[in-house]
C-alpha cells in the first residue's frame, strides 16, 4: 500500500513517520505525476493560505480533486481539513472542496491560545485521545452526509464523509497512532 503525503509545506515528515510505523509505504507529493498509483492521500498540517496557493501554483488542485471524487481516500489535518472544506468562512481562498463542511479558520485564536486537550472519540475506543490544536480551525457546520466523530466544547473537530476524513488537530504530532490506523482501515474496506 502506498500513501501519498502532500509535501508542499508543513508537517509532512511527521505524517510519513506515523504511517510507516503503521506499516505502509509513503510518497512525498509535490508534482501532479507523483499522484499516480496511490492508495490514499494525506494532506498535512501547515499554513492553509500558503498550501492553497501552492496547490494552485503547482497544478495539483484539479488532479487531486478528480482522484478524490473517483474514490481516493483522503485524510486532512488542520490546514488539510481547511483544504477539504467546501466552504471556508470569511475567505475566498481556493480549496479542494471535497466535504460538505463550513470551516472557520484560526477559530480558537492566535498561537498564545493554542492548546492540548483530551477528546472522546468513540470510533477509536474508550481511551481519551490527546489532541494538539495549533492556531486550529473547527467545523462550524456540517451537511447531512457528514459523520461527526468528535467535538471539543461543542465544536466539531473530527468528521468523516465517505472516503474523506478530516481533523482540526494534529495526530502527526503525538505518538497515538489510532487515527492514522483508522484512516488505513478506511482504505482496506
Amino acid at each position: 500500500m502506498i500513501i501519498g503525503v502532500l509535501a508542499l509545506q508543513g508537517a509532512f515528515l511527521e505524517h510519513e513517520k506515523a504511517l510507516r510505523v503503521c506499516g505502509v509505504n509513503t510518497r512525498q507529493i509535490r508534482l501532479p505525476e507523483q499522484l499516480n498509483g496511490l492508495d490514499g492521500l494525506v494532506i498535512p498540517g501547515g499554513e492553509s493560505t500558503t498550501m492553497g496557493k501552492l496547490l494552485t501554483a503547482y497544478e495539483l488542485l484539479e488532479p487531486i480533486k478528480q482522484l478524490a471524487e473517483q474514490g481516493l481516500p483522503v485524510f486532512g489535518t488542520c490546514a488539510g481539513l481547511i483544504m477539504m472544506a467546501k466552504d471556508i468562512v470569511k475567505s475566498n481562498q481556493l480549496s479542494l472542496g471535497l466535504m460538505d463542511i463550513a470551516v472557520e479558520r484560526n477559530a480558537f485564536g492566535r498561537q498564545v491560545d493554542s492548546f492540548e486537550a483530551d477528546l472522546a472519540i468513540p470510533a477509536l475506543g474508550d481511551k481519551p485521545y490527546r489532541a494538539v490544536f495549533i492556531r486550529a480551525p473547527y467545523i462550524a457546520s456540517a451537511g447531512s452526509g457528514v459523520e461527526v466523530m468528535a467535538k471539543y466544547e461543542e465544536k466539531i473537530v473530527l468528521a468523516r464523509q465517505k472516503n474523506f476524513l478530516a481533523a482540526a488537530f494534529h495526530p502527526e504530532l503525538t505518538a497515538d497512532l489510532r487515527l492514522h490506523q483508522y484512516f488505513l482501515n478506511m482504505i482496506k474496506k
Binding site: 509535501a7 508542499l8 509535490r30 493560505t49 500558503t50 491560545d113 493554542s114 492540548e116 486537550a117 483530551d118
Partner: protein, 295 residues
C-alpha cells in the same frame, strides 16, 4: 477534559507547521500582503529590514506596537516579531500583543550581554539564532522552540549561513558517533546542557525545527540551505531590497518546496529581476557583525 495552553508540544508544533516554508521580513501591511500572496508561511514584522538597520547604525529596538498590530490585522498567516537579546520586557509586550512567535534576535542591539531571556516563562514560542550546536542547545535549554542559523543579516551574502548550518550539522554527526561515556565531556566542551546533547546524539538532529537565516537572497540560496539540511528559510532583506519583490518572493517559496529538483530551480530562477546588492563579509568591521551578538 484537561486543557493546557502554551505547552512545549504546542510551542514546538507551530514551528513544525512552518517547515518547508519561507518566513519573510516585512515592514508594512502592504508588504505583508505581498508576502502572503507569494506563499510565505509566516511574516516577521519589523520597523526596518536588517540591511537598513545596518545602514542606519545606532540602537535597534523592538518595533512600534502599531506597526506590528497593523501587520497582524493585514494577514491570516502567523506573524512573528523581534525582541532584543535579553530584553524580557519587550518580549512581554510582544506576547501581550498576541504575536505568534518571538525572535530573540541579534539583528537588534542586545539589551543584555550576559543573559538571554528565560523563554520557558512565556506562553508564546521563541525562535533564536545560533552559529553552532552548543549555542543552539543553550537557547533550547532556555526554552527556544525553534532555532535558525544566524548567518550575517542584511548582507545578501549566504556564506555565513552556510558556515553556521554546516557547523551545526557537522557537530550533530560528530555526537552521533560518540560512545555514551564521551557525551558528558562533549557537553562540557560545547557548553551545552547534557540532556540535550544526549537527545541530539539519539535523534541525529536538533530536537526542534531548524531554519536557515542571514544572507539568503536568491532561490538557489534557499535551495542550497535546504539541501544542507535545514527545515525552512527566513528571508530578511533579500526580498524587499530586490528589484522585483513579488517575483523574487514567489521564486524563493517555490525553490524551498522544490529544493531537490535542479530543472525546476532553473525555471524559477529566470527573469526575477536583480537581487539585492550584497556585502563581502570581510569588509564589515568585527564590531559591526551581528552574528557575534549573544553567546
Amino acid at each position: 477534559m484537561l486543557t493546557e495552553k502554551g505547552t512545549w508540544t504546542v510551542k514546538k508544533g507551530l514551528a513544525e507547521m512552518l517547515k518547508g516554508g519561507v518566513i519573510m521580513d516585512v515592514t508594512t501591511p502592504e508588504q505583508a500582503k505581498i508576502a502572503e500572496e507569494a506563499g510565505a508561511c509566516a511574516v516577521m514584522a519589523l520597523e526596518r529590514v536588517p540591511a537598513d538597520i545596518r545602514a542606519a547604525g545606532g540602537v535597534a529596538r523592538m518595533a512600534d506596537p502599531t506597526v506590528i498590530q497593523r501587520i497582524m490585522d493585514a494577514v491570516t498567516i502567523p506573524v512573528m516579531a523581534k525582541a532584543r537579546i535579553g530584553h524580557f520586557v519587550e518580549a512581554q509586550i510582544l506576547e501581550s500583543l498576541g504575536v505568534d512567535y518571538i525572535d530573540e534576535s541579534e539583528v537588534l542591539t542586545p539589551a543584555d550581554e550576559e543573559f538571554h531571556i528565560d523563554k520557558h516563562e512565556f506562553k508564546v514560542p521563541f525562535v533564536c539564532g545560533a552559529r553552532n550546536l552548543g549555542e543552539a542547545l543553550r537557547r533550547i535549554g532556555e526554552g527556544a522552540a525553534m532555532i535558525r542559523t544566524k548567518g550575517e543579516p542584511g548582507t545578501g551574502n549566504v556564506v555565513e549561513a552556510v558556515r553556521h548550518m554546516r557547523k551545526v550539522m557537522g557537530e550533530i554527526r560528530y555526537l552521533q558517533n560518540l560512545p555514551k561515556e564521551e557525551l558528558m565531556t562533549a557537553a562540557k566542551e560545547m557548553g551545552a546542557p547534557y540532556d540535550l546533547v544526549v537527545k541530539v546524539a539519539e535523534l541525529g538532529r536538533l530536537p526542534v525545527v531548524n531554519f536557515a537565516a542571514g544572507g539568503i537572497a536568491t532561490p538557489a540560496d534557499a535551495a542550497l540551505m535546504m539541501q544542507l539540511g535545514c527545515d525552512g528559510i527566513f528571508v530578511g532583506s533579500g526580498i524587499f531590497k530586490s528589484k522585483d519583490p513579488v517575483a523574487r518572493a514567489k521564486a524563493i517559496v517555490a525553490a524551498t518546496t522544490h529544493y531537490n529538483d535542479p530543472k525546476i530551480l532553473a525555471e524559477i530562477s529566470r527573469d526575477i529581476g536583480e537581487a539585492m546588492p550584497g556585502i563581502e563579509i570581510q569588509t564589515i568591521a568585527p564590531e559591526q557583525r551581528m552574528q557575534d551578538r549573544g553567546w
